[in-house]
């Protein structure tokens, strides 16, 4: 009987001081370095969202839209899975990072590499490297006053 109070007090201390369960859940902001947004796309079939970033040379080439790409232009296409926004029904928001593709225009050639992840099909077709390059280079900048 004498032990009841000490046991009760010990239990209170034990449970009240227990630290919150550690979780690795985090909010991530993608860092595109010195590249800025050229445009973006949503693929409803695969529930993905993409943003195409580029440096100034890439942006200017996309804006000119004449198919001429000067050496030095660099592009990054980032793709995420999207989900329903838990804060607002009717809205979708990007979630897990699926892939990062890099494209660099060099004299006489264009280098393309998948920096991370796996590239998904477009319209049900997995584009080969040349078509994928054209797909990325074909983005028209979003209107941005």
């Amino acid at each position: 009987m004498k032990l009841i109070i000490p046991i009760f007090v010990s239990m209170m201390i034990l449970f009240s001081c227990r630290p919150e369960a550690q979780t690795s859940a985090r909010r991530i902001v993608y860092d595109a370095g010195d590249q800025q947004v050229i445009s973006h796309a949503v693929n409803k079939k695969s529930a993905t969202m993409s943003i195409l970033y580029g440096n100034a040379a890439a942006y200017n080439a996309a804006l000119a839209g004449n198919g001429t790409h000067q050496p030095g232009a660099q592009y990054t296409l980032v793709t995420w899975q999207y989900h329903e926004n838990p804060l607002f029904y009717g809205s979708n928001i990007n979630g897990e990072l699926l892939s990062v593709e890099k494209l660099a225009v060099k004299p006489g050639k264009t280098d393309y590499q998948v920096e991370s992840g796996k590239v998904l099909p477009v319209n049900g077709v997995l584009l080969d490297t040349e078509k994928r390059k054209n797909y990325i280079l074909g983005y028209r900048p979003s209107i941005m006053p």
């Binding site: 859940a25 909010r27 595109a32 693929n43 926004n85 607002f88 809205s91 797909y135 941005m144 006053p145």
Partner: protein
């Protein structure tokens, strides 16, 4: 207690009651009745939906409140009238058709989200008016109605042609003199060099890219939302959706850029956030008076996004 002190106590009690009654009567004389306004442009919705709105929302969000008599007795009436005036400013079913189609759709999605999250009717109202609560089945009825009005429809040729025309116009545009929102927030395109914090679509009708300055990005990464640090700024750029040859959706016409700037001392009425919206390629500011956001923007942000410090579009929390 002797007879004399007993009589004194009775007299004192009566005096107190008399004073209270007098105060009560005076209060009624200075009690301003709720402003009565005509029903000029009532919402036209299917009967089942209209019935839910009338029962659950009309006491505050229409010009036809049917409140029990005691709601108009001071001092209760002061709070009730203040609540109703504010509610009508935010959304009024009796003046619904005065809104543009776009505004109506926005309000409908707001209504759906409010009732779905159980934020409306307000708890303090529902406690006294339990019949106003909206059941899960009724939420479903509202949802089906909202989807039928605003649902997913592919962009037609007008949308595509409009997007192409807007794009050509934009390319030919010279720099626009920085417009200023009525609350003093000035448009600046500095956000184009900020990091993108998220990307969203809404109702399958618009697509958005949301940028955050360094203070905002740091707050997101450290989950520092209560409160967000002063100086944090977030800009959401919004476009129409246009489908391309790859079966994807790409940005079409530019709709607006929405700013949220954190300054706790300056924007006390809106949880420390200054709101601004610049519309169309000419970036026309939203709002007639400096307090426009306190009767529009903040209502949804306050009710639905409290957990992230009143922002809807912080990045999702992901397990890594």
């Amino acid at each position: 207690m002797d007879l004399k002190s007993n009589n004194l106590m009775k007299i004192t009690t009566w005096k107190v009651v008399a004073v209270l009654v007098a105060i009560f009567v005076v209060l009624q004389c200075i009690n301003e009745p709720l402003e009565t306004k005509p029903v000029t442009a009532e919402i036209e919705a299917p009967a089942a939906v209209a019935a839910i709105f009338e029962r659950a929302c009309y006491d505050c969000h229409s010009n036809e409140p049917e409140l029990p008599w005691y709601n108009q007795v001071a001092p209760v009436s002061w709070q009730v009238n203040k609540d109703i005036s504010r509610a009508r400013e935010v959304m009024n079913f009796s003046e619904w058709e005065k809104l543009t189609k776009g505004e109506q759709k926005g309000k409908l999605w707001g209504i759906l989200n409010m009732v779905k999250a159980g934020k409306m009717p307000l708890e303090r109202y529902a406690l006294l008016h339990p019949g106003a609560r909206v059941t899960p089945a009724e939420v479903e009825t509202i949802k089906n109605y909202v989807l039928s009005v605003t649902g997913d429809q592919p962009a037609d040729s007008n949308t595509i042609n409009g997007a192409n025309k807007a794009y050509d116009e934009w390319k030919g545009l010279k720099t626009i003199t920085a417009p200023v929102s009525p609350n003093g927030i000035t448009y600046s395109d500095a956000f184009k060099s900020w990091k993108v914090i998220s990307m969203t679509t809404l109702y399958d009708k618009s697509m958005r890219v949301i940028y955050g300055n360094d203070i905002a990005v740091k707050a997101i990464e450290t989950e520092n939302f209560h409160p967000w640090p002063d100086g944090a700024a977030v800009v959401k750029a919004v476009w129409e959706q246009v489908e391309n040859e790859y079966g994807e959706v790409r940005p079409g016409k530019f709709i607006n850029a929405q700013f949220m700037v954190k300054d706790a001392a300056r924007y006390k009425d809106t949880e420390g956030w200054g709101f601004a919206k610049f519309n169309g390629q000419e970036l026309k500011p939203t709002g007639k008076a400096a307090n426009f956001a306190s009767i529009s923007c903040i209502s949804c942000h306050r009710q639905l996004a409290e957990e992230t410090g009143y922002l809807f579009n912080v990045p999702l929390k992901l397990n890594l």
